[in-house]
């Protein structure tokens, strides 16, 4: 990654391929997710919580795979999903310190064959850049709301490690480590005062979304088993 502050003049000639943004997620088993996306994401992925490796702080993520660097939705050319998280769509743009707009010059999206540019011929922001800026704005406000939601979950003792013991069709045992989900037992036992607070802050809706999304783990297991079957048949055929 090579982040530089975006300059309309200096980077005016850059060409972007937005279709390659999804490729940046090809080997990501976790993609950060903000609360405003929970409902849409819940139709596709499990929503999980994990700690940042440098700070230990919790963020929320969509889960794409059952192992490190595994994205089971990646087909080789795109993400086969109903909803692409904003953190993927915003590629190759980032918000740096002091809210400066930055671009990752190492991103595969920065490509001379690209169809999009950041400025129009008259020097004004392109429609594409405006759209990206709006995604980034949504991400920034979403991030604050997400932090507040997670802080509330932690203070109410509503997060717990996810204990998943999966045995795949080929017999491989799978254990997911470092992932956290809602502590449903604590949620059920929550005193009324806290429950009311969750409802008033709108956090209850988010909790429902996370709960609904938890079943999507079976989608991941199915995809993983399909891959195993595919690989096995490939090996069998080539051996034959």
């Amino acid at each position: 990654m090579r982040l530089v502050e975006l300059s309309r003049s200096e980077h005016g000639a850059l060409r972007i391929r937005p279709d390659l943004a999804e490729a940046s997620a090809a080997t990501e088993h976790l993609i950060p997710l903000v609360t405003t996306e929970y409902r849409k994401a819940a139709t596709q992925y499990p929503i999980v919580f994990a700690k940042h490796s440098e700070t230990g702080k919790f963020s929320s993520y969509v889960l794409n795979g059952l192992g490190l660097n595994e994205n089971l939705f990646w087909t080789g050319t795109e993400l086969d999903v109903t909803y692409v998280p904003m953190n993927v769509r915003r590629q190759p743009f980032y918000v740096g310190s002091n809210n400066a707009l930055c671009i990752d010059l190492d991103s595969p999206c920065v490509d001379t064959s690209g169809t999009k540019s950041i400025v129009e011929t008259d020097g004004s922001d392109s429609a594409y850049l405006k759209e990206m800026l709006s995604v980034l704005r949504d991400l920034m406000t979403g991030r604050e709301a997400t932090e507040a939601f997670i802080a509330n979950l932690l203070s109410l003792d509503l997060l717990a490690p996810i204990l998943l013991d999966i045995r795949l069709d080929d017999g491989t045992p799978l254990r997911l480590e470092g992932l956290y989900g809602l502590d449903e037992e604590h949620l059920r036992q929550l005193e009324e005062r806290s429950f009311l607070q969750l409802r008033q802050t709108g956090h209850l809706d988010l909790i429902y979304a996370v709960l609904m999304a938890s079943g999507q783990i079976f989608r991941l297991i199915r995809l993983k088993n399909q891959r195993i079957a595919l690989r096995r048949s490939w090996h069998t055929n080539s051996a034959g």
């Binding site: 700690k51 490796s53 230990g56 932690l154």
Partner: protein, 517 residues
């Protein structure tokens, strides 16, 4: 029904008093007024000794049970991680002479005992690794200056087992705040002027300068070396153990770091000297260094020179504080309605950081066996005394073990320490057995053991002891043993790559905090 025990009066506001208050209050106090009422009297004029800057891993569960956040503990107690002790110079005094007593069991222990396999291997190979290095990955972690966990590890959870180094003064204040604010302990700042007994001999109340009479159904003497209640008032004599452990002086000094980012050593350094040994403990902002020695073997001036040589000429201006200490304990620890916790019960040299853990264990025992009535208190006292005596004997044995295998001949201190007259019979018996087999759990049958068999292995083999393994049928277990040795090598290379530097993690904890889960 008898006379119910409703209130506890703790005399002394040092680490012993506040830890005991916290441990008991976390279990027994309640807002509804039903539980026990706990009052602690802290002197206005008498400072705390503040020994014991090293804990055992038990402190993690003690703090957790008390409801303390580990993040707050790091932020407020100048605390750092401790992953055991490195003993330098104890065997021969040569520069390369060191071994570790880590806080983790040998790989596979106790279902698998690597000791005989290592003994055989090291006899046949000149460049064999040390025992502690061969069976436990923690030594490598310590030698690389690494922390025992990650910023993503939950509070009180670790990759490697760990304890703490802490600033005893700040720690007492930290626990005090928690006790008063969150656990409902009543804090009285005043000086005790008299201790008044009733006709039965029990302590009735203590008279204070400003707060009048303070009574209690149970009194806890945490008054330090003075042993105001148990020793001075109830006349329980002190039993010296200086015939076994010769150390009777301490010179303590606080040594600043080179700069704010200097490495913090993640273990206690215990460096043997000519007439004793030096502890060297890395806190966040400074090191705590002290020379404990035997005044029968060296003059105070010479000892001071030895300490100065250790800390280096840069710190020539530091003025060490001198303490007189006597190894030993009260003849009994709980008499009538009074029980001693901490220095009022006794003292031993800090070789294996037994001071704080003894406070925890005693307070835990008082808390879990809390007598419901005065009538049943004597039964509890009898058990408490038997347990505590047993613990002291085991600690004394284990401390003595560090001395009896030394090969040092550079002073009478080391030679006298090997005199059979100074070695307890219980330790002599163990040593007889261990000539033919390694220490195992079968040698430590009590549920009140302080040190596990593995600790004895680390010290024994670290000190150069070798048992006779010629007649042991080792072939049968060889495969398992080899697997365990290579598992240890795997863990060593894995964790030394992943774990952060000790100071880096502590800085991160102070900035970001650890998660509770």
């Amino acid at each position: 029904m008898g006379t119910p025990v409703r209130s506890i009066c703790i005399v002394g506001g040092g680490t012993a008093g506040w830890l005991t208050a916290g441990i008991i209050a976390a279990r027994h106090a309640s807002d509804s007024g039903r539980g026990l009422q706990i009052t602690l009297i802290e002197s206005e004029t008498i400072g705390i000794i503040g020994v014991g800057e090293g804990t055992w891993p038990t402190m993690r569960s003690t703090l957790k049970k008390m409801g303390v956040s580990e993040t707050d503990f790091f932020r407020e107690c100048n605390a750092s991680f401790k992953q055991g002790a490195k003993f330098s110079g104890w065997v021969t005094g040569a520069a390369s002479d060191f071994y570790y007593h880590p806080l983790m069991l040998p790989e596979g222990f106790p279902s698998l005992d690597l000791a005989p396999f290592w003994t055989k291997y090291s006899a046949e190979h000149a460049n064999a690794p040390s025992f502690s290095d061969a069976v436990c990955f923690q030594e490598a972690v310590c030698e690389s200056g690494l922390a025992p966990k990650l910023i993503t590890s939950a509070e009180y959870a670790g990759v490697a087992n760990y304890a703490y180094h802490l600033d005893a003064g700040r720690f007492a204040a930290f626990i005090r705040e928690h006790c008063v604010k969150n656990l409902g302990v009543r804090h009285v700042v005043d000086d005790v002027t008299a201790v008044i007994q009733s006709d039965t001999g029990d302590i009735d109340y203590v008279e204070t300068k400003k707060s009048g009479r303070l009574s209690g159904d149970l009194f806890i003497d945490a008054s330090g070396f003075r042993s105001l209640l148990l020793g001075q008032t109830l006349g329980v004599p002190f039993v010296k153990r200086d015939d076994v452990l010769f150390i009777d002086r301490a010179l303590a000094v606080q040594v600043p770091y080179e700069d704010e980012q200097s490495a913090i050593v993640p273990h206690t350094l215990s460096v043997a000297q000519k007439h004793g040994w030096i502890w060297d403990i890395g806190l966040q902002s400074r090191r705590g260094v002290g020379y404990v020695y035997s005044s029968n073997h060296v003059s105070a001036d010479t000892a001071l020179e030895e300490l100065r040589a250790y800390v280096g000429s840069r710190h020539r201006d530091l003025q060490p504080r001198q303490l007189e200490i006597v190894a030993g304990h009260r003849q009994t620890f709980w008499k009538g309605n009074c029980v001693a916790v901490g220095l009022s019960g006794g003292f031993l040299e800090p070789l294996e950081a037994s001071a704080l853990v003894l406070i925890e264990v005693s307070a835990d025992m008082i808390s879990s066996m809390m007598p419901a009535t005065r009538e049943t208190m004597d039964i509890v006292a009898k058990r408490f005394n038997a347990n505590t005596h047993y613990r002291w004997e085991r600690i004394i044995d284990f401390l003595k073990l560090h001395y009896i295998l030394s090969q040092r001949t550079d002073s009478k201190f080391w030679i006298d320490n090997r005199d059979p007259v100074s070695i307890p019979d219980s330790l002599k018996e163990q040593m007889e057995l261990w000539r033919h087999r390694a220490p195992g759990d079968q040698d430590f049958m009590s549920t009140n053991e302080m040190f596990p068999a593995a600790s004895y292995q680390y010290v024994l083999f670290g000190m150069g002891f070798r048992m006779n393994v010629d007649d042991l049928p080792l072939q049968r277990g060889m495969e398992n043993a080899q697997r365990a040795f290579s598992q240890n090598a795997t863990l060593k290379s894995k964790w030394t790559k992943v774990l952060p530097k000790n100071r880096d993690l502590i800085n991160k904890i102070k900035t970001h905090g650890l998660q509770k889960i």
